[in-house]
């Protein structure tokens, strides 16, 4: 077993355990901390795949900004333990089998059609950040500019939604 494979299995186990913990924790703040574990493990996997810039963005934006937003809202709303209410009949009896079937279907399709996907020949071949930024500012410059509008609208939307009504 080579070293990248061992690193992969450790990080994958960390991600899956974090995701299961997100489901099982009763308190939202514990779920948020589990989600941070998943995101850091995924950043490690991106590094393993040589996507260094994506890994850095994953840590900064997901592990940093978005999760801080979540934790901030949980504390702002003083969210306590989840109260138990009855599931609908469909969710109670059909939910878990259907979710398992979906996972199985996805995994089966991936393995079936993924067999033709070539494996990367070189270990740890880094995708140069320079190439990435070249693409971003030439081929993908219009989507890139559009995202800045999207973020501007999102900022204004969040401000309008969250402000306290006067009078």
């Amino acid at each position: 077993m080579s070293a990248p494979l061992i690193i992969f299995f450790v990080l994958a186990a960390l991600a899956v355990i974090g995701a299961i913990s997100l489901i099982l924790q009763k308190h939202p703040i514990h779920s948020a901390l589990s989600l941070i574990v998943v995101m850091v493990a995924l950043a490690g996997l991106y590094l393993l795949m040589g996507a260094e810039f994506v890994a850095a963005v994953q840590i900064i934006v997901y592990g940093g900004a978005i999760m801080v937003l979540f934790v901030f809202v949980i504390m702002l709303l003083n969210a306590g333990e989840e109260e138990r209410t009855d599931f609908s009949k469909l969710a109670k009896f059909g939910g878990l089998p259907l979710a398992l079937a979906l996972t199985g279907l996805l995994a089966a399709t991936m393995t079936k059609h993924g067999a033709s996907i070539p494996n990367p020949e070189t270990a740890g071949a880094l995708a140069p950040t320079r190439d990435l930024s070249n693409l971003l500012f030439t081929t993908f410059v219009y989507p890139f500019e559009l995202t800045s509008f999207l973020i501007l609208i999102a900022i204004m939307g969040a401000l309008v939604l969250a402000q306290r009504e006067r009078g």
Binding site: A19, L22, M49, P120, A125, I153
Partner: protein
């Protein structure tokens, strides 16, 4: 080197866990977090497909760029969604999605 299929299967498992969390949790914030988990699972398969291409392929880096765009959209979605959550919690005095039932017969 790690086969690309392993990454894809991990991505499917994480997506399935996100679906399970989405269906079974009652807290609106946790449901929102499970959406982020599903987005992350899809990002993983994007990067896996990107790295599986040969090094001199013209569109090798496109997958990683899509991941960047997905992250931007997820950030915008988180900002607006959490604004909606604050508004809902203020109006209904509860974070339980079962209590948000005005449209229910």
């Amino acid at each position: 080197m790690v086969p690309t299929q392993y990454y894809l299967i991990l991505s499917a498992i994480l997506f399935g866990l996100g679906v399970v969390a989405f269906v079974f949790r009652r807290n609106i914030i946790t449901i929102f977090m499970s959406i982020e988990l599903m987005l992350n699972a899809v990002n993983l398969s994007f990067v896996a497909f990107s790295q599986s291409m040969p090094a001199d392929h013209l569109h090798k880096l496109d997958g990683q760029l899509f991941v960047l765009f997905v992250i931007v959209v997820a950030a915008a979605e988180a900002a607006v969604g959490l604004g909606i959550i604050i508004l809902t919690a203020r109006n209904r005095q509860s974070l339980n999605v079962e209590r948000v039932d005005l449209l229910k017969l």
